[in-house]
Symmetry: C2
Subunit: 400 residues, 2 copies
């Protein structure tokens, strides 16, 4: 480990700490990080000179005498960088723009011509969305220092490689590179559920937890895992797969081509497929509208609809219970935007889950429900990019 | 973080490094740990004075001139401490004695009067086994600095608390405390499958891996997970539960009182239960002998036996595939001692597993089979205790 490397590491550590805990005084930084006061003074001076942090007058406590040298806290310099985040959905792209401090500056929703397209077509849509987003703040696309991209499917985040996504018409797309080349700014791609976990960790319900699971419920089921304060991605970059874990040997056919996947029972298409298979319920509308109709029928006592929804809920509870048995997390966050999946959040489902986990004489993990809109997904993507932008900014400081 | 705390941490780090990599020269320690050469010299001098490490002459490379000051490497001082490990099974306790370097000194197998007993009765059996083990080396029980205990069931290792075990007739047994009080030496209790993972990590097939899963196959199915080079235990101390994950909604009744657990399909009792349920196969011997007979019948083409074994194998493959989907590990180690579970290791089972994981254009995780005897379980328990004994020894050094 060279001295230069240690210096960059210490800068990175202090910048992160200021980002997470600031504004705070230098003395707190020394205590929190174990870095000596002298080194904290030297490094924060570098960060100040580089414009990454700023000094702010300390709020005086009521009753505190305001004598002597005015004391200052350190905070992130918001204007230092612009960071964008976006989430690719079937019908639209949701985008947000943040400053270096994570403050929301603008957002934009761009509808997509089609759900599934070529990498170049998707990249062009994204570029157009980002350009419009930057323009809302009177800025250019190239003023943005980094963009985080959340996409559903199987993604190797370290390499920005999308093995497979319902939004792309090809496998093994190096989407990070495609976007970075087209946009002229670095793009960081990850599975959308991982980015929801990132958002929960950074500014959501997971802020005070180091080990939790986020289950996202949209038209399919996604999962993000935070272990020891880090997103867990597995060794090939495709871990934390929940929707295609098997809940029935040789079970229902799944869109992935296998059988018995959780999604083959709980996804919207699975609900519609089953409900219409016996002829009692007919569907002429979109899948989403059809699910709404089936849920309404179930609530009104239609026995077929009730049986269909009941099985989906119980399969979901079984899948959740398996996660608890394997991970024993502190907290499970059920996140989603669509009211149509309310049945999966029901108390009865949680009760069923609790009955299917290994019983010990301690309370089961807390389960919280967090209803989100697409903007929150995009904010998770921006939080992901922000970490890289921080690191790049710290590395660039070397030459100051 | 006080200076004293930092010193203890550096001592701990260097002792671990010497234990894992030694014999090695001081300069390598400085390079590997990032601790300065001067500090390495000071700290290793403390460790030498405390008798925890020793200097050994460096092996001269062929052709290397043997001139100048004789160079020395550092290694663990084997005689510094005795450490024991044991595994509690249905019919016996297997014990090993190691020195501070992890060298095997003695082992002993003690048969148990009954599989399920009171905490005091089990502790008495363990004390007798340890006394006999120490005597084999001309030592006393109290010469042992620490003992690791592996037991099947659900264990909060941090507190030595056994929530439930088939070897105990009570729930919520503070077995660590019970043993420490009776033996007069510190006892460290963990789930036996975690200790197999520990053994694989310390001196087994996982030595060069930081993320792997160990599945133990005995009369039931256990799991140990290593993530980032650490045993993963979950937040309530009861994670990594595999045998009671559910593979069938409202499925076969399990001994745990729930339905559809993996064990309810693959454990020995489950195989016998199913095979005898249709009257074609009759069983008069022990469960273990019965499983052997059913497997032989399957091999000889008995259609009922084949159907029974086939489902168990496919359920096992499905459970494994779910773990791969969730964790995406580098390596899966299937560890067990009993040849009777050969069918679960079969190529066809592994093939079935590979067909049920999310397909990406990268090879699936490596699966290796490691046949073990009870002694290896006990060695894992000793490796677990050894870490605590190292830490205690380093803390005691403060007063030198």
């Amino acid at each position: 480990m060279s001295f230069g490397h240690q210096k960059v590491e210490s800068r990175r550590l202090l910048l992160r700490e200021i980002a997470q805990r600031g504004p705070l005084p230098r003395i707190d930084l020394a205590e929190r990080t174990g870095i000596s006061r002298a080194t904290v003074t030297a490094i924060t001076s570098d960060l100040l000179r580089g414009g990454l942090i700023a000094e702010v007058p300390r709020d005086t406590q009521p009753g505190e005498p305001a004598r002597g040298r005015p004391r200052v806290d350190l905070k992130i310099a918001g204007q230092a960088h612009l960071v964008a985040g976006l989430k690719v959905s079937d019908a639209s792209i949701s985008l947000v723009l943040m400053d270096f401090q994570g403050t929301h500056l603008a957002d934009h929703e761009r509808s997509m011509p089609q759900a599934r397209q070529s990498p170049d077509a998707l990249a062009t849509e994204i570029a157009a969305g980002l350009t419009r987003l930057a323009a809302q703040c009177g800025r250019n696309l190239t003023d943005i220092s980094g963009v985080g991209v959340g996409i559903s499917g199987i993604v190797d985040a370290d390499h920005g490689l999308v093995y497979w996504s319902p939004s792309l018409d090809q496998r093994n797309v190096p989407l990070g590179k495609v976007l970075t080349n087209l946009l002229g700014i670095p793009a960081y791609v990850d599975n959308d559920a991982n980015l929801v976990a990132m958002a929960e960790l950074t500014f959501g319900l997971g802020k005070d937890h180091s080990d939790f699971i986020v289950i996202t419920i949209e038209s399919g089921v996604g999962m993000g895992m935070v272990l020891g304060g880090q997103i867990y991605r597995g060794t090939r970059g495709c871990g934390a797969e929940f929707g295609h874990t098997k809940v029935h040997l040789d079970g229902a056919l799944c869109r992935c081509g296998q059988r018995g996947c959780l999604e083959a029972y709980v996804a919207d298409y699975a609900i519609v497929r089953e409900a219409t298979s016996v002829g009692g319920i007919s569907v002429t509308a979109s899948t989403s509208q059809a699910v709404t109709a089936i849920l309404a029928a179930a609530r009104n006592g239609d026995p077929t609809a009730r049986t269909v929804i009941d099985r989906a809920s119980r399969m979901f509870a079984m899948g959740l219970a398996n996660l608890v048995n394997i991970f024993d997390p502190e907290l499970i966050i059920l996140a989603g935007e669509q009211m149509q999946f309310d049945h999966l959040y029901a108390d009865a489902v949680m009760e069923q889950m609790r009955k299917s986990i290994v019983e010990i004489d301690k309370p089961p993990p807390e389960v919280v429900i967090h209803k989100w809109d697409n903007l929150m997904w995009a904010q998770g993507a921006a939080a992901y990019a922000l970490e890289f932008v921080q690191d790049t900014a710290v590395e660039a400081l070397e030459d100051v």
